[in-house]
């Protein structure tokens, strides 16, 4: 079965200069395969530097992969030049983290929401306004006519983020990458926005890649969770399976680190993995997590990178702990 978005063995490198003539390659994404089906929501969970954002950007062809392939709706767009991506750009959109910097402060809400239509030459001016109005109503900015002439600085963070969503959805895309869409919004309002996204996704049958550092919200809003560490997906499965039966030691550590509102917590120390994420410029050989792994197996983990394997139906992990069972 072919998914809407198919990433296979994707590698994305950045180059950073360190000396007069030396540059190092940073492996932001290091051989990731992931398929997103039409209409499903996949959460990409990881800490900073895990490459989750880069993976999302690569799936939108905002960065050009060093190797591997990106296929959208069966078509290979890995190396397509920008001018051939116009059709893809119409169907794949993004919602950004920072509603303050992703909206142009010099454009009104109308300009922001109509711009995608104008860029793709869709409809007459009047039709574009109608579609913008409908998009605003879809994101609960009502009455739309009040918001159309406003500049972003007059809106609250949540309202701006809704404008960003309307801008992404006005083209009626089939695939949307939402990169930390609620992390800059007050905790008590986050759920509201996530519900909105879920409703829109259900209504229009959009495939979502929900990129987040917050595994708890991923649990509630995604159909599948993929956990990334240092450029690789280390575990993937249904939210329930990943959260309640984590396989990879990193996933376990990540889940253990999440604070839960439980009065008993303060009496015990949290089990944590030592150290910090190593630099992606010089990733460890073998399993990227092995230097910090509490279940490190010498002579194995540091030699070759484990691949994702299905440990239980629909639940995959890249860890040698589960290799012996088969």
């Amino acid at each position: 079965m072919a998914g809407l978005v198919e990433l296979s063995d994707l590698v994305v490198r950045f180059h950073a200069r360190t000396g007069l003539f030396r540059t190092v390659a940073i492996h932001a994404v290091d051989g990731v395969s992931l398929t997103i089906e039409a209409g499903e929501t996949v959460a990409l969970v990881g800490e900073s530097g895990s490459g989750k954002t880069t993976l999302g950007r690569a799936s939108l062809r905002l960065v050009r992969p060093a190797s591997g392939s990106v296929r959208f709706d069966g078509r290979d767009i890995t190396d397509a030049p920008e001018r051939e991506l116009k059709g893809f750009r119409r169907q794949a959109q993004a919602i950004f983290q920072d509603p303050y910097s992703s909206l142009n402060p010099y454009h009104t809400v109308r300009e922001a929401v109509e711009e995608p239509l104008a860029v793709h030459g869709i409809g007459t001016a009047a039709e574009r306004t109608d579609r913008a109005r409908k998009a605003l109503e879809d994101v609960q900015l009502r009455p739309a006519d009040v918001f159309l002439p406003m500049y972003p600085h007059l809106l609250s963070g949540g309202q701006r983020q809704r404008v960003g969503i309307a801008r992404a959805l006005v083209l009626e895309p089939r695939y949307v990458v939402a990169d930390e869409p609620v992390s800059m919004i007050d905790a008590s309002s986050r759920a509201e926005l996530l519900y909105l996204l879920r409703d829109l996704q259900a209504t229009y049958g959009i495939a979502f890649l929900y990129v987040t550092h917050d595994i708890a919200s991923a649990r509630h809003f995604a159909g599948r969770i993929a956990v990334m560490y240092l450029g690789s997906i280390v575990e993937i499965g249904t939210p329930e399976a990943v959260v309640e039966r984590p396989l990879h030691p990193y996933t376990k550590a990540l889940i253990d680190a999440v604070p839960e509102p439980d009065p008993a917590n303060r009496l015990r120390e949290r089990p944590v993995v030592p150290g910090e994420v190593p630099s992606a410029a010089d990733p460890p050989a073998g399993c990227p997590f092995h230097p910090r792994c509490p279940r490190f197996m010498a002579g194995r983990c540091e030699l070759q990178r484990p691949t994702l394997r299905e440990v239980e139906p629909g639940h995959y992990a890249a860890c040698y702990l589960y290799e012996d069972e088969t």
Partner: protein, 484 residues
């Protein structure tokens, strides 16, 4: 921020208000100057000495009389086309000079124009009738006779006039000496008289008085008597000029040029230099900065290196060199200024664009499929606009000062009048050492006010651009240094 918002913000500040007011005043004044003066004023009039021949030289402005007390001699030009009296072949043109000042005129000239005769040239005689009834013949100007091959009637002084200085020359000295001897029985030594002729004409001798002369106030009749041979002969006009001890709003320079006119015509030129140079420079700077920052790669590298080189060139010495070698046409000067002043903005804009490029704003435009051109013009440019505008405002005074500096070194465009050139001629003539302040202070003040207008606007722009620029001095600092 919208342009209107920016203007509102600007006008909310004290400096912004002051700068805007000054700018409007300067623009209105230069509009007036452009309407009132011909475009070739510099080449055709300012540098043509005959235009200014009737003016007193190196005299202070009229209004200084109010400060110094005493009655100054007003500059008086008397002209007539009709004879006051005709007796036989002699026509007398008479003009009355009321002399009430505490100082004598700086000079006295007569000018005759439009002579036409048929046989022999008319014989002319200049007479002054003084308030005490005495009179003296000061000069007998000669009208040139017919040339060979020329046919009657003979036209003389149709364009320029026959101009005779009455306050210099041996003839006047002798005439006055005789007058004093005959009428007042006073023997004034000619060497005393020679240096005080203008004074002597309006004085009676009096021992003990300065120069041995006491001013005689009252009405003077200045007469030109012309005796014609043929009744058809004509004389167009007669003009007497009594040089004032003060002149015009701003005084005169050593050529008698009315400095007020020079100052006024200098304004639109200064504004032209400042505005065109700053628009051109910022347009180039901003465009290159945006292209360099957004396109990246080789384009970026080339622009960056070029900017680096040009930014590190010592501006004024090179400017002097180029103007000296290539030429000093005003447009060339502006071109050179622009050629060396864009990198500051390019570097600034590029760094802003780099930040924007990696930001979500640009990414969100790429995702919807916007073209590069659209992204640069609609999404990136507006963010840099306040800085670009501030830089534009900031560069205008820099260009004005740089041109003034060049002009001061004698490298200005000779076909236009600039304040720097007025200062240069004043400095070269020694106005500073002679205390002719009206020649060197007002042009400088004009430069400062014009430059300050833009500086105030730049200061008022500060809340708009919020200069948390850590790159040291603002980008225009260097260019500005050039004219200083």
């Amino acid at each position: 921020m919208t342009p209107r918002g920016m203007l509102r913000e600007l006008l909310a500040t004290g400096p912004g208000k002051a700068g805007m007011g000054l700018l409007v005043a300067l623009l209105a004044l230069s509009l007036y100057a452009l309407v009132a003066f011909p475009l070739d004023f510099g080449a055709k009039r300012w540098s043509n000495p005959s235009v200014w021949a009737d003016n007193p030289r190196s005299v202070p402005p009229v209004w200084t009389g109010l400060l110094s007390g005493g009655r100054s001699m007003p500059h008086t030009v008397l002209e007539t086309e009709e004879p006051a009296e005709v007796s036989g072949a002699t026509r007398t043109y008479r003009l009355r000079l009321e002399f009430e000042a505490d100082v004598p005129p700086t000079f006295l000239t007569v000018a005759v124009a439009g002579v036409r005769y048929h046989a022999r040239p008319p014989r002319l005689e200049v007479v002054v009738r003084r308030p005490d009834g005495t009179s003296v013949v000061l000069a007998r100007p000669q009208v040139p006779g017919p040339r060979s091959g020329e046919a009657a009637p003979y036209e003389r002084f149709g364009e320029g006039s026959l101009r005779v200085a009455l306050t210099s020359g041996e003839r006047t000295t002798t005439a006055l000496r005789e007058l004093f001897l005959d009428e007042y029985a006073a023997d004034v030594p000619p060497e005393d008289l020679r240096d005080a002729l203008a004074r002597a004409i309006v004085s009676v001798p009096e021992p003990g008085a300065p120069d041995g002369l006491r001013l005689l106030r009252g009405s003077y009749d200045l007469e030109l008597r012309a005796t014609f041979d043929d009744p058809r002969d004509e004389l167009g006009s007669v003009r007497f000029v009594a040089g004032g001890s003060r002149f015009g709003l701003m005084g005169t320079d050593s050529l008698g040029r009315d400095l007020a006119q020079g100052l006024l015509i200098g304004l639109p030129i200064a504004l032209f230099i400042g505005i065109t140079a700053s628009i051109a420079s910022t347009a180039i700077g901003a465009t290159l900065g945006i292209v360099s920052g957004y396109m990246g790669g080789k384009t970026d590298l080339v622009i960056q290196r070029l900017a680096d080189v040009v930014a590190n060139v010592p501006l004024l010495p090179l400017l002097i060199f180029l103007v000296f070698v290539v030429g000093s046409h005003l447009l060339l000067i502006i071109l050179f200024l622009v050629a060396f002043s864009w990198p500051g903005l390019t570097i600034l804009v590029r760094s802003m664009v780099l930040q924007l490029r990696s930001g979500q704003l640009v990414e969100s435009a790429v995702v919807i499929g916007a073209s590069r051109w659209r992204i640069m013009s609609r999404h990136i440019f507006p963010h840099t606009a306040p800085y670009v505008l501030a830089q534009m405002i900031f560069f205008a005074p820099a260009a004005i000062l740089a041109e003034a500096g060049l002009s001061f070194l004698g490298l200005g465009d000779p076909s236009v009048v600039t304040w720097g050139q007025i200062l240069e001629s004043g400095f070269r003539t020694g106005a500073v050492f002679l205390g002719w302040w009206w020649w060197v202070i007002p042009p400088g003040v004009a430069i400062v006010i014009t430059a300050l207008t833009f500086m105030l606007l730049a200061l008022g722009m500060e809340p708009v651009v919020n200069p948390r620029l850590r790159s040291g001095a603002p980008a225009g600092y260097r260019a500005l240094g050039a004219g200083r």
